[in-house]
């Protein structure tokens, strides 16, 4: 498999007065053509910032360094004009909050056709025809919604389908889905997810899915990257991760999620005590030390590097969890 996306030493820095802080610190991973990667972690770990850095829509004041190579070209080194040409065309994104991610005053057909006109230079008639076909493909045929329908007439799941149509319009090589179905109810979530997985496979797109839902991770993604406080703490094939977690944070994350349904009534749900340290309050050592049950004195002076912990399995912990 050839590599599509290669992220190397990606750091995102913000400034407050004379201080600097890192939203992401030297994160690296690779994604093959047609591959699937899930990025997991709590809120505030830098997952969404990673997505915005990949597509090049970081908020003002966030500086990126490192390399984001798509087919060998470093996107971070490109001028904005060339970068814009990749948006929608090579890398597309489906956002969270389908209720707010569509323009409420514009018919959905136009919102789908817009990318086609901007990026492929199609004329109005051709773009409209393709938009209609795309809406059909994502499960919004003529009887359900017309291109003239306004977003407020659609349900959450239908809006999410429109967002998928927008993202697929120019047949990108990489699709980023940011918490994309969390705002939907379970049944709708499953349907939209099935559609997304089907389309990704059908068009041989690579998928980078940002989620805190481990069930989703298991269903869709071949590989997983665990982010904590802006750092990659564990990377592994999803199956290996489900079999054995090595980083105490990953173990905690799985503990909260997988056992939540099996807790006897009256007992406390498992949690990871404490919170993700905010960017300006992160020390030099392991970022998880403050919440970790396995912390030792050697965790504190410096950040543990990622090292091999199995086939294609890497972990950034000096005292990893050992499971039998």
């Amino acid at each position: 498999m050839s590599v599509l996306l290669e992220v190397e030493g990606l750091s995102l820095r913000v400034r407050r007065g004379a201080e600097y802080a890192y939203l992401l610190e030297r994160v690296g991973f690779a994604l093959e053509v047609g591959g699937t990667l899930g990025v997991v972690g709590e809120s505030g770990c830098g997952k969404s910032m990673l997505a915005l850095a990949l597509i090049g829509l970081l908020p003002r004041g966030v500086a990126a360094s490192g390399a984001v190579r798509l087919d060998g070209t470093d996107l971070l080194a490109l001028p904005e004009r060339a970068r814009r040409a990749t948006r929608g065309r090579r890398i597309a994104m489906v956002f969270q909050e389908p209720m707010r991610a569509l323009n409420p005053t514009q018919p959905i057909g136009r919102q789908v056709a817009e990318g086609l006109r901007a990026q492929l230079g199609l004329g109005r008639a051709e773009a409209d025809a393709r938009a209609r076909a795309l809406l059909d493909r994502v499960g919004l045929p003529a009887g359900v919604a017309s291109p003239h329908t306004l977003p407020h007439r659609l349900s959450g799941g239908q809006r999410q389908r429109v967002l998928i149509a927008i993202a697929l319009a120019c047949e990108p090589a990489l699709l980023i889905a940011d918490e994309f179905s969390t705002a939907l109810d379970m049944g709708t979530q499953a349907q939209v997810l099935a559609l997304l997985a089907e389309l990704v496979a059908e068009r041989r797109m690579a998928l980078l899915m940002i989620t805190h839902d481990l069930g989703l991770l298991a269903q869709v993604c071949a590989r997983a990257l665990v982010l904590y406080a802006g750092r990659a703490v564990e990377a592994a094939p999803t199956a290996a991760l489900f079999a054995a977690r090595r980083h105490p944070y990953t173990e905690g994350l799985f503990g909260c999620s997988l056992h939540a349904g099996h807790t006897a009534p009256g007992t406390r749900l498992p949690t990871i005590r404490g919170q993700v340290p905010p960017p300006f309050a992160r020390g030099p050592g392991c970022c998880f030390a403050g919440r970790c049950g396995r912390v030792e004195p050697d965790c504190l002076p410096e950040q543990p590097p990622l090292h091999a912990a199995g086939p294609a399995h890497r972990v950034a912990c000096l005292h990893p969890v050992v499971t039998v």
Partner: protein, 317 residues
């Protein structure tokens, strides 16, 4: 859309009916007897009674209201007490100045205020944004009459580009008439434009931070395309409503500005008529102003509905 127009026209009729009752009651409850003003201080009681009868002022209030309202419906607006000409003719003469003045002012304030507000929002936090907002604050604080005097000083007395006041009438040269309206319209429009600019800036900033603008950028649209195609149309909805809310202020502004620029318009007429206790004229003008305000607000409502069809009701959660 047709139903929306119908509903708003119905509301407009109701507003006008209520407005006419309030205007009538207010004006007839005011102290000051038109007959005394007309006859002078040394009028004999007999003469006053006779004039009251002649003017219909001795009739009971409800009857007087019905006479006035019925007249309005059949377009018989009564006769001015002081000018002794039909009120309709008086209004028609004065509207030929005030209507274009209000129209030009509205156009200018929107044409200046909205682009300036969008420009400031697009440059948020930069020096140019701050400069625009400071200027807007300044213009907003300048009262119409003083701004008018400053404009006369600059454009009429120093630069000699435009006349300082008066109105040559439309017949000899429409261009000269238009030139006479430029300065008064500017004096009225600048503070309005400043308010609109500030409001448009914050509405645009709000829209720019919406997720759908990010969706648009992710499709590969540039910042300008995302701004003009996605943020601005959404920002316009509340701003257009503000234009409607501001319109009555604009109309009352014409009263002052017509005085400063010596324009024989509706504003001047209403001042004179109040001074003379010329009840038929005052009543009709005030109701006409109510009608104009209601009309502009219906137009604004329909424009907002066109921009954001969700306002049409039948929402879906």
């Amino acid at each position: 859309m047709i139903r929306a127009v119908g509903a708003r026209l119905g509301g407009m009729a109701l507003t006008l009916l209520l407005g006419s009752v309030i205007v009538f009651l207010l004006l007839n409850a005011l102290p000051g007897d038109p007959a005394l003003v007309m006859l002078g201080l040394d009028a004999t009681p007999d003469a006053v009674v006779r004039l009251h009868h002649q003017l219909g002022l001795d009739l009971p209030l409800p009857l007087r209201y019905l006479r006035w309202a019925g007249g309005l419906l059949t377009l018989h607006l009564g006769t001015s007490l002081t000018y002794a000409v039909p009120v309709s003719q008086l209004l028609a003469d004065r509207l030929r100045i005030t209507l274009p003045l209000a129209g030009i002012t509205l156009l200018l304030s929107v044409a200046i205020g909205l682009p300036v507000g969008v420009a400031a929002a697009a440059r948020q936090g930069r020096v140019s944004d701050t400069a625009i907002m400071v200027a807007a604050q300044l213009f907003k604080a300048i009262p119409d009459f003083w701004g008018g005097v400053l404009l006369i000083l600059l454009f009429a007395l120093v630069l000699h580009w435009l006349p300082s006041g008066g109105f040559p009438g439309w017949e000899p040269s429409p261009l000269a008439a238009l030139r006479a309206l430029v300065l008064p319209a500017l004096a009225l429009a600048l503070p309005q434009a400043a308010i609109l600019a500030r409001f448009m800036r914050s509405a645009t900033l709000g829209a720019l931070s919406e997720d759908f603008v990010r969706t648009a950028r992710a499709k590969g649209l540039g910042t300008q395309a995302a701004l003009w195609r996605h943020a601005v149309p959404n920002a316009l909805v509340p701003v257009i409503t503000l234009v409607g809310i501001q319109f009555p202020l604009l109309l009352t502004g014409t009263i002052i500005v017509e005085t400063v620029f010596d324009l024989p318009g509706l504003g001047r007429l209403v001042l004179e008529a109040i001074d003379q206790r010329d009840l038929p004229v005052v009543q009709d003008i005030v109701l006409l102003l109510v009608g104009l305000v209601v009309l502009v607000n219906v137009a604004v409502d329909l424009a907002a509905l066109r921009l954001d069809p969700r306002l049409g009701g039948e929402r879906r959660a």
